[in-house]
């Protein structure tokens, strides 16, 4: 999802909807021996002000607030260390990352560390970069790394203080190693568990010494294995889909076929005749979410049978009835006129007019569904004045506030139990809390009918595909030219795409002067163009849109890196050499470019079998403050079929907390990007989504997965994210490789059969 540093530490919701964040007062460092001593913090500094990782003692200040290590770490009398994760684990490794940070400073025994999802709590668990408790924008490590390390260090200090008291020895003589507390002179040596109760009675320290990087045992090492591997390989990991509660009813729903339609009337006779159907009820929709008809049963399949037996008449007077072809035609017409100007320097039109070599093209991108493997779902249990929610929560406090508003409760009265999410890719961070509030709305209607037990809303794959909140459709119209030296001389760029943030609580901060920054993030960057013009149209189509893994970069990165490739060829220069020149003042871009090119053997020609064409392409994209370059190698067969053989990736995400998680996220981001490049599109016909399941919204399968090599740039910069940045460079790298192989430019995604024509 979307984020930039300028939003740092600002609340993203209107006042009143959420408690205000804790104000941060500041003070200077306290001096101490043996490394950096920080004033302890409960809320860490926002990344924009972050003085880099501890160990960089030369800068920065720490906030003066009360530390609350018990909010993040608990040590049991059995010696087990439980880390409370304020972030959702949706596959990206956040639980492992947060636990690594705590365990590092605590000197815990990794085999004793486990992670539990923290409850929703806007005060304790806010994402300091988003202003709400939420996981997105690849911010988990960026916002929490210091907070988690401080929590671990505080807990360690309390264990040491307890031991010093018990043994009557100076704390300075006590060491902690791998889950044990030791005093060498007196040969005391006990596990954390033996000191846990005494440690909890110790005052929380006012100052902390964090480790310098040379003392790391876990950070940067491959030893910490994912904390969720065991449960996810033996079937015991709990997803929302798996929640079973006494008296629970499963709700399967009939959604309107078109966005904006509402139920007019329905006939439930056939549904109610099915053995096992408990009830059929209409529930209210609202801003950003469907109203519809829900069939309740104790068994999911029976509920679905009941849903399929319903006859519902819909009021479509306010429904969206356009087709996506007509919408794209409208986008093209819009692109004929100027939009809202976002950037301007020099005179792009004049420079283009007198240029010898110029390129001119439209680039088109479809709607994309997130299609996580676990379709959206949510469990809600309502009491007289209470609400409990079980869910893989990506926006805890937005969902909590939304549920409270719908029920007339205070946010604190809505208790959220955090579970694993079977994927999300942004979908579970809905600014309107759509499916969560749908579940609440159904539970509310059920309670009115006397069903007091919990309700589990389960979307079928079809609802998940058709219920909207897609990556917006986009059209880019670009005219660019090179000068006599081959460098880009002019670049005129128009984007037509729906605003993700308009009409959401994020609009206040995310839309400035009519520009939704997620529509344009990264476009043309980091290239410096003397004559540049960039503008934006943000039409409202009535199709619900939302952030989708790497957000605007999914299209801006593609166009920028394909256009630069076109300019390189126009200049008669090698695409890596061309970028090297253009990026000479951007050392982190340049470093990943050089690393990926070297590891890929860029200068070694590819060998092609008879009748086949092979090509190599490169792209480098910075997103969410991480820098990623990818080199793709492709084979195009005589029949026009494409195989991406190999992708070499170089990533700079600052301090590498868990290198293996970083590699995994690059591998996954590459596969995710490749699915979109090759196959994915949601299309509408007369307002009805044409795709429904994996046969017509195909996923990447193992046979299409290239070999992937990931290389991590060593860095002492503050950690940035890895969940999203692996995705944006993939599609342009593949498109550029296709060009190298076939001389054909791919300007419309997905690729589909374009090479077969």
């Amino acid at each position: 999802m979307y984020l930039t540093r300028r939003f740092a530490a600002q609340p993203l919701l209107p006042a009143g909807l959420l408690p205000a964040p804790v104000p941060l007062s500041r003070r200077g460092f306290l001096q101490g021996a043996g490394g950096l001593v920080l004033g302890v913090s409960f809320m860490p500094l926002a990344a924009a002000d972050d003085p880099a990782i501890p160990g960089d003692a030369g800068s920065g200040v720490a906030p003066e607030t009360t530390i609350e290590p018990q909010a993040f770490v608990h040590i049991g009398t059995d010696g087990r260390v439980t880390v409370y994760a304020k972030h959702l684990e949706m596959g990206q490794g956040s639980y492992t990352g947060l636990a690594t940070l705590v365990a590092e400073e605590l000197d815990a025994d990794w085999s004793q560390v486990r992670v539990e999802g923290a409850p929703a709590d806007a005060k304790r668990y806010a994402n300091t970069l988003l202003g709400v408790q939420g996981t997105g924008g690849s911010t988990a490590m960026a916002n929490a790394h210091r907070q988690m390390r401080e929590a671990g260090a505080a807990a360690r200090a309390m264990l040491v203080a307890a031991a010093a008291q018990r043994w009557g020895v100076p704390a300075g003589q006590i060491t902690v190693d791998n889950g044990r507390v030791l005093h060498a002179p007196s040969k005391h040596n006990v596990g954390f568990g033996e000191l846990a109760e005494d440690a909890a009675k110790q005052p929380v320290p006012r100052t902390l010494t964090l480790k310098t990087p040379d003392a790391f045992r876990l950070i940067g090492k491959t030893t910490p294995r994912r904390v969720d591997s065991a449960g996810k390989t033996d079937g015991s990991a709990q997803f929302t889909q798996d929640v079973q509660l006494p008296d629970m009813l499963v709700a399967v729903v009939a959604h309107p076929p078109r966005f904006g339609a509402t139920p007019k009337s329905f006939d439930a006779a056939k549904a109610k005749a099915i053995d096992g159907v408990v009830d059929v009820l209409e529930y209210e929709g609202g801003h950003g979410r469907f109203g519809g008809v829900a069939v309740l049963s104790r068994n999911t399949w029976i509920a679905k049978q009941g849903r399929d037996a319903l006859t519902v008449e819909w009021d479509e007077s306010k429904a969206m009835k356009d087709g996506s072809d007509a919408l794209m035609a409208r986008f093209r017409t819009l692109a004929d006129s100027a939009g809202t100007v976002a950037r301007q320097s020099g005179d792009a039109d004049a420079a283009l007019a007198k240029a010898d070599k110029r390129i001119e093209a439209d680039y088109e991108f479809p709607y994309l569904a997130h299609a996580s493997m676990e379709p959206m779902n949510c469990v809600v249990s309502l009491g007289e004045r209470s609400c409990e929610i079980w869910n893989g929560e990506q926006f805890q406090t937005i969902d909590q506030a939304g549920a409270a508003a719908l029920l007339g409760l205070q946010p604190e009265q809505v208790v959220i139990h955090q579970l694993y999410a079977g994927g999300s890719f942004g979908r579970r961070a809905n600014p309107h809390a759509d499916f969560v509030l749908e579940a609440v709305s159904i539970a509310k209607a059920a309670r009115k009918q006397g069903h007091k037990g919990p309700v589990k809303l389960v979307w079928t794959r079809e609802e998940d595909t058709r219920a909207g909140y897609y990556r917006p459709m986009a059209l880019h119209r670009v005219r660019a030219a090179i000068g006599k030296d081959g460098r880009p001389a002019a670049w005129h760029h128009r984007v037509v795409t729906e605003s993700i943030m308009a009409g959401t609580p994020f609009a206040e901060f995310g839309i400035r002067d009519g520009i939704d920054s997620s529509s344009l993030e990264g476009v043309i960057e980091p290239y410096e163009i003397p004559n540049l013009y960039l503008d934006l149209h943000s039409p409202d189509t009535g199709v619900p849109v939302q952030w989708w893994r790497s957000v605007g970069h999914t299209h801006t990165g593609y166009v920028t890196e394909v256009v630069v490739d076109e300019l390189a060829y126009a200049a008669g220069q090698d695409p890596v050499a061309y970028r090297r020149k253009l990026l000479k003042d951007h050392p982190r871009h340049l470093a990943v470019l050089e690393l990926a090119a070297a590891k890929a053997g860029w200068d070694t020609p590819l060998k092609a079998a008879a009748g086949e064409k092979r090509g190599r392409g490169v792209a480098v994209v910075k997103s969410f403050n991480s820098y990623v370059a990818e080199v793709a190698e492709v084979t195009v067969k005589a029949d026009g079929s494409l195989k991406v053989d190999r992708v070499v990736c170089a990533v700079d995400c600052g301090l590498a907390i868990n290198p293996d998680v970083i590699r995994a996220q690059m591998e996954g981001g590459i596969g995710f990007g490749l699915a979109a490049m090759l196959h994915s599109q949601v299309t509408l016909k007369d307002g009805v989504v044409e795709q429904s399941n994996f046969h017509n919204y195909p996923m990447l399968r193992i046979g299409e997965m290239p070999q992937v090599e990931v290389h991590i740039v060593a860095s002492a910069e503050p950690p940035t994210g890895v969940g999203e940045p692996g995705t944006p460079p993939l599609a342009p790298a593949v498109a550029n490789a296709i060009f190298a192989a076939t001389a054909k430019r791919i300007r419309r995604l997905p690729l589909g059969d374009q090479l077969k024509a």
């Binding site: 949706m90 596959g91 990206q92 490794g93 994912r226 969720d228 591997s229 065991a230 449960g231 996810k232 390989t233 033996d234 079937g235 015991s236 990991a237 709990q238 997803f239 889909q241 798996d242 079973q244 053995d275 104790r298 068994n299 999911t300 399949w301 029976i302 996580s372 493997m373 676990e374 379709p375 694993y420 999410a421 079977g422 994927g423 999300s424 890719f425 389960v458 079928t460 794959r461 998680v661 995994a664 591998e667 996954g668 981001g669 590459i670 596969g671 995710f672 490749l674 699915a675 399941n693 994996f694 046969h695 996923m699 990447l700 399968r701 193992i702 046979g703 997965m705 070999q707 992937v708």
Partner: protein, 153 residues
Amino acid sequence: MVKMTVNGVERTHEGDPSMPLLWFLRDEAQLTGTKYGCGMSLCGACTVHMDGQAVRSCTMPVAAVAGKAITTIEGVGTDKVGKAVQTAWREHDVVQCGYCQSGQIMSAIALLQSNATPSDADIDTAMNGNVCRCATYVRIRSAIHSAARALKA
């Protein structure tokens, strides 16, 4: 009434025999390790073994498993191949979101039971029906090779 064994335990289903096995396992037998992904045998998240063969439980009516032995992810840890695959999955940290992985593991076990030393191409063919949206495929290949090596040792 349909009788079967699930992970060695006798089970009886007295409801609609056309109910897919998936929903019997998840909602009746409370074995939730087997996942719903598509309901059309398109993604493999619901893969279980029926008399040792990998099948998609989301489209397999309970009636069709009468008298059969069903094994789910909860039951494979005691089997030599099952254990080797689970161990390899952990050593390679294959999982990301994890939702598809029960099905991936069940397909991988079935592959290794019929082909002790699969090539990359064999793996791609055998595993092509199992979708992983997180695209953990690189590690799935490595983990299957690892499990194959461990079983030969």
